[in-house]
Structure formats: structure tokens, C-alpha cells
Point group: C2
Chain length 337, copies 2
Amino acid sequence: MATIKDVARSAGVSTATVSAVLNDSAYVSPPLRARVLAAIRDLNYSPSLAAQNLKRGRSQLIALVVADLANPFFSRVVWAAEAAVAAWGYSLVVFNSDEKPEAEQRILSRVRMLSCDGVLLVPVGDSTKHLQRDPDEKPLPTVLFGRTVEDDKSDTITIDNISAGRQATEYLLDLGHTRVGSITGPLHLTTGRGRLDGMLAAMKSRGLAPEPRDVRSGEFREDAAYSVARSLLEQQDRPTALYVASGLMALGAMRAIADLGLRCPVDISIASTDTIPGIGGLRPRLTRTEHPLVDMTNEAVRLLVDRIRRGGEVEQRNIVFQPSLVVGDSCAPVGLR
Amino acid sequence: MATIKDVARSAGVSTATVSAVLNDSAYVSPPLRARVLAAIRDLNYSPSLAAQNLKRGRSQLIALVVADLANPFFSRVVWAAEAAVAAWGYSLVVFNSDEKPEAEQRILSRVRMLSCDGVLLVPVGDSTKHLQRDPDEKPLPTVLFGRTVEDDKSDTITIDNISAGRQATEYLLDLGHTRVGSITGPLHLTTGRGRLDGMLAAMKSRGLAPEPRDVRSGEFREDAAYSVARSLLEQQDRPTALYVASGLMALGAMRAIADLGLRCPVDISIASTDTIPGIGGLRPRLTRTEHPLVDMTNEAVRLLVDRIRRGGEVEQRNIVFQPSLVVGDSCAPVGLR
DNA sequence: AACACTCAGCTAAACGATTAGCTAGGTTCA
DNA sequence: TGAACCTAGCTAATCGTTTAGCTGAGTGTT
């Protein structure tokens, strides 16, 4: 690989001049500039990011730490984030904490070692104490995505989970269902807890409450939702409608319904929150709340880049996106059959 | 951030000794070693990868360049690759070439700038001429994944696409279908071409050949497959079975079937190749060939790491994985209805 | 006692960029 | 004419590591 010295020698100038041309950091007369550019072309030179990183103290790298890479929802986040990050001139380093706080901690220390300029984090634990390892060293620019944690000073991008749960549940209630159950996400996560709270609020405002045995929580996974749904629906006395906390889980629930010989929506109505790719092919079409994932991701990257550039001088921002109901045909009026 | 100098000063030794302790690169007496380790702990020191990269000429980064990050198939590759790469002590930088050769080229030059140690590439074009920019500089360690290109010297991990097409088609033929159509991938890709060739071979060996109008090619996308399937199936005189080249496309085809008011498998049988997450929830269950994606990815990373470490001294390796048929209920004997 | 070895640990030169500070020549103006 | 000021480009220090090569003390041999 050619270095800046080779270019300087070949153009008959100093390395400072080459650097000035490369970065437009000082005026260079046209003839010299031309010679430098020619030398760069001849030698097929491109500056070493490693050296730049060392000198400048930044790396052009943004880390994305997701809680479960196997979840298609987060795959879409990876997709959207890669594009957004590239548009700002960064590259995306992807990590999977697999919902394990220890793994998250390991990853974050690696992120520091790599001197990533910032991190887009879907936090796993219920705190980010482990983020600042040293009180006096300046914190790694961070944007929390999708989930929030207690008393953190990072910017956040989230959805209104309560509204999501409420909207989906209200739709079911409007169809006349009174016995509504739910398969929730983990309740220690804001996404799990919030959606359930929204569901409960919707029912409460109509003087209803779910049977305790109709509300089961599980992980945000297809197989977990499948088995939870199975055991929930195997009760001889089961709910007529189900609010399922995520798209991936809805897939599991649908599979359970089919395997139990039930029909959706005739025997049981399903509504859920969030979507995953390919779900559009599913029949019946799922009634669900969706949120603008691409916009959310773009906004998250924008905030992060802003914080990387302007640092602490900008105050904390917490942006909440609103979910909207997408009506499919997975829900029917109660007592249809 | 504490530097190696701070550690050296605090422990009362030279930086060389600290480095020796960190890398086990020379014998350091127990007392000194202990002092160094204590200083490291006190100062919460971790070496700067930027500086190490510059000095060592490597970055602990492996690039993954996929052809379409929006395709759930590649999302699974990201998931598997992240885990494999982390197990070898590397971090994964993800790029999306979006099936565009120019983008791939841009990405690869960025990969060089980042001085990634190696790249796992799902190639987009039909050649990798753009890979070695300079004939004399040593090539970036590369493993081609899934697709191959002409006259390349990289290691490759692929599946036997011909066998995949053949197996799926033979299954349809065994059910008595004689009028079989296909929705293929792009025919300039080995994955698209090979699967079609396998299908044609299977038919030919029984003295059959598809009607030209029953074979349509499209991109590996859900929406593309949807519209191609629609126009194919809207013919009043249509095939009784369809071989679809990918899991994502099969989803599109199924959706087209449903939207046309047809039933699968009663009116039309579908078999496909490869799988995507969540497809297990689909009803009817898709009959398809699957390949061991996780094993393939692990093997690809293993080859890549081996090439990074042992360089040119190891000869080119081309590993072909075999697909296997997974029978669902998306295919029925011909003339069932 | 003189010599050759070992050995632990140090000094200082890289790696490839950026950049503060300098220099030498050219203008401007009293 | 010469002080003051610009200007274009150079010199050299610097970022935080690694590592070749050195040093000086200790050991063993004759």
C-alpha cells in the first residue's frame, strides 16, 4: 500500500501538503494541487484509516448492538441502520447481545476498544450503569433504540408501547370480544411491560379485565410464543381473542392455532404489535399496530451523528414514535362461527 | 483514556514491559508482572485498537458484504456470521451492496481503507476483477459465499444449486405433474441459473420440458415474485405445479395464489429452495430444499480466518454443501381437486 | 580473574497520518 | 528603503502501540 510519504515524494512536496489537499484544510496552489492529485491517482493511494483513527481519535465506525439478531424485527433494523449509517459516511459494526446483560457488557467494552464513534443500543438489562466505566472519562455517544432503561442520560428513540397495546386491544373490544387474552413479551422490558399496560388500560376503560390465566408472558421468540399460545389455547374454556406482543410471536401463535385445529379468525381473533418482513404473505392477514421502523432508524442515526459531532453541548432528546393500526383479517366479530 | 505510558509510569516500568505482559511476548518476572497488572486494573486501561492496528497492520475486523440486506435469507447470514466471527475474536462490519456492482466496488474500497482483515462476500457482478486493485499488492483475504463468479481465486462456500432444483422438481414430477413451471432468480447469478438448470435436467430426464411461458425469471424479492407469479398464473391454461427459486419468492408466490382465489396445493403445487425465518408459520407448510446455513457460515468464517492467518500458503478451497428436501404440504398429486 | 553467555528489562525507532509552528519570499505602505 | 504583514509550503512533533536491538547484572567455565 502506498503511503502519504510515497505520494509526497512522487509529487515533490511535503506530506503536509498532501494532507492539505486531501482534507482541504489549507490553501494549496493549483499547480501543486494538480501534481498531488496526479500522484495520488498514479499510486492508487488511499489514506490508512488506522493511522487517521489514531491521530484523530475517531474511527468512522458506528456500533449497532441488538438484543436478538435472530429476530427478523432486528434484522430490519440492521438493514435500515446500515443504509443510514453509510449515508453519513460511517460503517456499521454489528453485535448481538442475545438478551444477555453480560454479553452486552462485553460488547460495549469491545466497542470502546475499537474506538467506535458511537453506539446504537437496544439495551438488554434494566440499567446502563455499565456504560460509563469511568466517571470522569467522557461517555461514548449512545442512542438507545426501542427500549429505555432507568435513569439514563442517553438520547432515546422509542415507540409509544402503551398506545400500541391499547389500539390493538380496542380494535378487538370494538368487535365485541370481552374475553381477551394476551401473550406478552418479557415484563422487565419497556416493550413487554408497556404493551401489556396498554392492553390492560383499554380493557379497564370498558370495565373489563383479562382472566389471569389468559395472560402469559414469554420471550420475543417464535417458538416461545408457540408453546405459550398452545398451552393458553388448550384450555377448554379459552379467550375469543388474543393480543400478541410482537410480530414474530404472532407467527408462533398462528402456528399454534393451526396445529390445534383451530381457525383464525373464526375460532380466535389475533391482533399484534409490530411487523416483520414476509408477514405480508401470511393468511389471514394479521391485524396489527405498526411503527415507522425506517424513519425511527434514520432518526436514531441522525441523533447519534449529531451527538458525535456536537458532543455534550446538546441536551438529552427522547423521541417517541406513534404506532398505527393496520387492519387485516385475523380478527372477526365475537361469536361469528 | 489511560495509555500504555500511564500504565508504565504507574508501575515503574517501561512501555515495552507493559506490552510484553499484555501480549505474553517475552518473559517478565512475577513481581513486575504483578505490578503491571495492578496498574492496568487501577487505571482501567485497555489498549487502543487504533494504535495496535496501525502498528500491526490489522484491525480485528471482518467485513460481510451481502447482496440484499432486506432479504431475510441474508439476515440469517448476518446473524450466523456475527456469532462465528465473534468466536474467533473479530468484529463484524456489515455492508449491503443491494445487488449493485458499483455499490459493491465502493464497499470493497472502503473495506480496504478500514483495513479489514478479511471479507465474506456475496458477490453481485459476474466477476471479481475489481477485487485486486493493484496487481502487485497482496489481495484482501476473501471468501465468496453462496454465489461464485468466473475465474476467481478466492475460497468459496456454495450449495449445489443444480441438485436443489433437481430434487424439488423431481418431487413434483413424482406426484404426477407434467406441466411444471418455474419462477427463477436472476439468470446471471449461479444461484438463479443453477436452480433452473437442475429443474430442467429433472424434467428432461423424464422426457419433459416446461412450456417457455411457464418459466419466468425475476429478482430474489417477495414483490417481484408476487407479480411474476400473478401473471404466470393468470393464464387460463396454467401449470399445475411451480418450482420457485427461493424462500422469499415462495412467500410472494403463495400470496399471489391466495389473491387469485386459488388454493395451494389443491389448485397448484409449490416447491422451492432455501428457507427464511418465520416460514415455519406458513400454512400450507412449504415443501422445499434446505441447506445448512449455519454450518455453511461457520465454515466460511473458518476458511476466512485460516486464510487471514496463513495467507497465500494455502491453496484455494471450494466447498459445496448439499441441499436436502423438506416435505411440507404445499404439493399434492396432480388432478387431485 | 577473565571471558563468554543468559536474561530481564530498557531505549528508541517505527507504523501513517495530522497539524502547530516556522520560514522564506512577496506585498503594502509610510 | 525597510518594517510589518501575508502567504504557500515545509519541518517536525504527535497520536498509542510494538519490537529490534541494546545494556548491565548475574552465572558458569577455565
